[in-house]
């Protein structure tokens, strides 16, 4: 396996999607190639950073509106049953 092929397989490898033979070859290449080992590390770091981006949120008024709608939805249902 060449380095140029290795970098294309990183996500497949991390997803566990590589067939057994390819996975073994991928790991063998990584053990022998410090450049690709580092590349995989940096790829993982990238994913960690993506996962640590601050969450966004809807406005407080939108949230309040939704919680009121939920309370009303329940009340409406209760009325229907009674």
């Amino acid at each position: 396996m060449r380095c140029q092929e290795f970098v294309e397989l990183v996500t497949s490898y991390l997803e566990g999607d590589l067939p057994e033979g390819d996975r073994a070859e991928f790991e063998r290449h990584m053990e022998l190639c410090p450049g690709c080992e580092r590349y995989l590390d940096q790829f993982r770091t990238t994913m960690t950073l993506l996962g640590s981006l601050p969450a966004e949120s809807i406005s407080v008024s939108a949230r309040t509106h939704l919680l009121e709608a939920f309370a009303g939805w329940r009340a409406g249902e209760d009325d229907g049953r009674a």
Binding site: R2, C3, Q4, E5, V7, E8, V10, T11, S12, E15, D17, C33, P34, G35, C36, R38, Y39, Q42, F43, T45, T46, M47, L49, L50, G51, S52, L53, P54, A55, E56, S57, I58, S59, A62, R63, H65, L66, L67, A69, F70, A71, W73, R74, E77
Partner: protein
Amino acid sequence: MTLVLTERYVATVSAGDRDLVEALLAGDETAFASLVDGWSGSMLRLARSHVPSESVAEEVVQETWLAVLRGLPSFRAESSLRTWVYQILLNQAKTRGVRERRTVPFASLVSDDEDSPSVDPTRFQGPGDPHPGGWRAFPEEWPEHSLLSREVLDVVRRAVAALPERQRVVVSLRDLDGQSAEEVATLLDISPGNQRVLLHRGRSTVRAHLERYLTDSSELEVAR
């Protein structure tokens, strides 16, 4: 093989979903609030891909939750609760996008350079070199301390924002929200292979942005 995995996956999520749906139907406001708090931010992000403004995107999220409440009694757990909610979101956003003349149907989007390489080909040795396809120079090490800075997250955020549409949506759902490959492929109605390619392209591009930023700034530090 794939089918077996998918079935097991559905079976695993639906137990938790069933409890959640029961809690909602029983009027558990805490359950509803935590669901709204947990998902609305990423729903907002997804809605933005289809509508022209932030305020419309927020309206789409609100309309989605109201539609979820209306539909909840008939939720059949054929997909995970989250996939079902996000499908409603996508439908709402598309309807709204058409009305606002900014429709971006996911499947029909141009295949935004899905075939482009993960790493600039000039980084690798050519046919006449001793090791064709091998690194010309190994990727440089990233300075650990820089990774903790707030600026780095800004670089990541901007890199995601600049990704082609489909890659941005997949990277956001997978790596920012933590949804599974199965969920995302189902939601966007794309093949598992297509999902993986979009994810890989997106991640590779974000890594390249980080590399440029981190190795440039370490050069600056050395120069000082």
